[in-house]
């Protein structure tokens, strides 16, 4: 019986590779990832879903095979070999559509009150221009959060990703005060949304959440494993967020792909609060040649969300 399943899986694997399928609307970040995806110990459910191949053809695959593989807690300590991930956020294109926030919350089964990705309305000084500032975890190369954790619940992997193991976290919140970017969130109670996720917990999925522990943006390593980009990247309608690999020197937002080093050098990319010495893996492109007025960011927002920005210098000046 087991052998048969194995054979089945092997067959499916062959089919996958033959057709050069890339699951869903995801974008391959690296060639090895397709294999990683098919290697997953998924089982067939009999239910078929339609996906788009790279050739633009629609084909049917078993739903069970599309499920994201979840690695164990031990495995999650190992970075993807030979990789070093990086994110580039183009501030010139952001209009606070908040699709990144919503997709991230959905993907990680988060309640509305927890945001791994936050969008700030920043203005560096009185005379400078305000801009929308999406802020994920910076996955710093010198992460203070990792240094201060007393139990090793948060760790830095060889591929640059900083993860949290919420089976280990004792909830002392020292990492939250250690992080100078207010990146981390705490589960102040048990949220119903956590229950939507029926899969076993994996630090790579960052889900299901657990009361009394800390969590944060994880760069979606479970998606990267299967050749997809993080939820926020694929959800952004403006293509603001680019994701990629420093060693491959490539970043993509799903529609455009750039040479990372050239993009940073041509567009004067920078890291936020470089002065703190945390060495973030997230770069920003300055908010120049804007595609939208800052005001557009208030467009279709919920009243509740709008209210967040009422105390910013910009809002005070424009809607006193």
């Amino acid at each position: 019986m087991e052998e048969e399943t194995n054979k089945n899986q092997k067959n499916t694997r062959r089919q996958f590779l033959k057709k050069g399928l890339i699951a869903g609307a995801g974008v391959a970040v690296g060639g090895s990832l397709i294999a990683a995806y098919v290697d997953a110990t998924a089982t067939e459910t009999g239910e078929k879903v339609k996906v788009l191949t790279t050739d633009g053809e629609i084909m049917e695959v078993d739903k069970g095979l599309l499920k994201l593989p979840r690695v164990s807690r031990e495995e999650s300590h190992q970075g993807l070999p030979g990789r070093k991930f990086v994110m580039v956020i183009d501030l010139g294109k952001c209009k606070n559509a908040r699709k990144c926030v919503e997709a991230c919350q959905k993907g990680h089964h988060l309640p509305k009150s927890q945001e791994f990705m936050k969008v700030y309305l920043l203005q560096d000084s009185e005379k400078t221009s305000p801009y929308w500032f999406p802020k994920p975890c910076f996955h710093c190369d010198n992460p203070l959060c990792v240094s201060v954790c007393p139990v090793g619940a948060t760790y830095k992997r060889s591929d640059g990703i900083v993860l949290i193991d919420n089976e280990r976290c004792i909830g002392c919140k020292f990492c939250m005060t250690g992080c100078p970017y207010s990146t981390r969130v705490f589960a102040w109670k048990h949220y119903e949304e956590f229950e939507q996720d029926k899969e076993p917990y994996s630090p790579e999925a960052g889900s299901p959440g657990k009361e009394g522990t800390v969590s944060k943006c994880d760069f979606c390593p479970d998606l990267i494993r299967v050749g997809k980009v993080p939820y926020c990247v694929s959800a952004c309608p403006m293509g603001v967020i680019y994701f990629g690999d420093v060693d491959e020197d490539t970043v993509t937002n799903g529609t455009e792909t750039f040479q990372f080093s050239k993009l940073i050098s041509d567009r004067a990319g920078y890291r936020y609060l470089e002065v703190l010495g945390t060495r973030p893996c997230v770069y920003y492109l300055p908010p120049v040649e804007r595609q939208f007025e800052v005001d557009r960011g208030f467009g279709d927002l919920d009243e509740k969300i709008k209210e967040r920005y009422k105390d910013t210098p910009y809002s005070k000046k424009h809607n006193p």
Binding site: S113, S147, V148, C149, C169, G171, M176, T177, S182
Partner: protein
């Protein structure tokens, strides 16, 4: 055996033998406060930390403030009793045991507050099982557990002679089990010259140890804050600043204890104005140091006015105006005036000042912890009021009151078990000289 009539215990025995109606009411009241605190704690366990005022920005609130506060008070005993002992300060006898009690009791309460702050109490053993030495919390775990151990030994050595005395005093009207307990705890100490010499030597060593461990504990506690990059915390002065603030608060608590026990147990003959002035002067010197460190810390922040330091100072002078004024002005100047000028130096004035100092130092810790967390590098942009501003809930206040109540209760019980003034080695006529100087 000594002459029973001349035994100094004769005078102090009623303290141990009888508890007045008032005494019982007091204990009942404390138990009531503790009961409410227990209910509050249950709420927190059942409903999560949402029942507190802490949220994602202000992740540490009153609990951490209480933690620093009680640890600081404990330091008083350690440093004051340790130094008084080592330097053989002549007037130390009537107050030294109180200082030792303060140390051990608040050292038991302080760490409980950090536990209240921890999201998953069930995983507490992980601190040992998976402890990482790189984390200042691990430093803290090691330092505090060493401190508790050391302070217990120091206290035990200090009370050993009295335990032997209690064991030998036949007129003591106490239940059998109490007498048996004294006998067991006295470890067969009879006061032979060899025993005396060993005990003195051990106490000297422990006094020195306790002083140094306490400095380490308090510095480590300060480093939990100053190793982070947060504006207002990331300061090199925090180690010594916390140490000074700790002894300062401890000296004030000692004065309050002296006043209370003097009244309750009628110790007017033993604890005199002289003692209040002496401890008051320690408090005054510490006030000056504390003021100097505070000034130094804020001056450099304000003068250079980095953007985030400036925001923090604005916050301190607007939203936290009164706590700031009370802790850093009143709390510094009042002891300088009251103890500094001879004409204000009365027992009640000094005690009142001590109460103000204790409040001021609690507030000082509050305005170190909360405003910094309310002004992070990235401005807090949130529509939820509880996310913007921290306000402690009834659960936190109730547990704070419980901390104070447990302190009072343990102190009361301790004073029922061993005399609050060391009586050993004091006999008959010598007593007045030795104790009163």
């Amino acid at each position: 055996m000594e002459n029973e009539q001349n035994n100094p215990l004769k005078e102090f025995a009623p303290q141990l033998e009888r508890t007045t109606m008032q005494g019982y009411t007091w204990i009942l009241f404390l138990l009531l406060v503790i009961g409410v605190g227990f209910y509050a704690f249950l709420q927190q366990v059942l409903h999560g930390h949402e029942v507190t005022g802490m949220r994602d920005n202000v992740v540490w609130g009153v609990y951490i403030v209480n933690f620093i506060f009680f640890m600081g008070v404990s330091y008083a005993g350690a440093l004051i009793s340790g130094t008084l002992h080592l330097f053989k300060t002549p007037w130390r006898k009537p107050v030294i045991r109180m200082a030792e009690f303060i140390t051990v009791i608040s050292l038991l309460i302080g760490p409980c507050f950090i536990l209240l702050c921890i999201g998953r109490l069930d995983r507490l053993p992980y601190l040992v099982l998976f402890g990482r030495i790189q984390s200042p919390i691990t430093w803290d775990v090691i330092a505090i557990s060493t401190d508790i151990f050391g302070c217990f030994i120091f206290l035990y050595l200090a009370v050993l002679r009295d335990l032997a005395l209690l064991r030998d005093y036949e007129l003591l009207k106490l239940p059998k089990w109490r007498k048996k307990l004294y006998k067991a705890l006295a470890l067969g100490y009879t006061g032979t010259p060899e025993q005396q010499q060993r005990l003195n030597r051990a106490t000297d060593i422990m006094a020195a140890m306790v002083i140094s461990i306490a400095i380490i504990v308090y510095s480590v506690l300060a480093w939990i804050f100053s190793v982070t990059l947060q504006p207002g915390w990331h300061s090199t002065i925090f180690g010594p600043y916390f140490v000074i603030a700790a002894v300062y608060s401890g000296s004030a608590v000692l004065i309050i204890c002296m006043w209370v026990f003097r009244k309750v147990y009628h110790l007017e003959a033993y604890i005199t104005k002289k003692h209040f002035v002496a401890v008051g002067i320690i408090m005054l010197v510490l006030a000056a140091f504390f003021g100097y460190f505070t000034f130094s810390d804020y001056l450099t922040k304000w003068y250079g006015s980095e953007k985030n330091d400036e925001l923090l100072i604005q916050l301190l002078f607007k939203k936290f105006y009164w706590p700031f004024i009370i802790s850093n002005y009143v709390g510094v100047l009042l002891p300088l005036i009251v103890v500094g000028l001879a004409r204000f130096r009365t027992i009640n004035n000094i005690t009142f000042t001590a109460v103000v100092v204790v409040v001021a130092l609690w507030l000082n810790r509050y305005i170190i912890v909360v405003p910094t967390l309310e002004s992070p590098y990235l401005p807090i942009q949130d529509a939820r009021p509880e996310w913007l501003n921290y306000t402690a809930t009834w659960v936190e206040w109730s547990l704070t009151a419980t901390g104070v109540a447990v302190f009072c209760l343990l102190f009361t019980l301790a004073s029922k078990f061993i005399t609050i003034i060391p009586v050993s080695g004091v006999t008959g006529e010598e007593k007045k000289e030795d104790v009163l100087i």
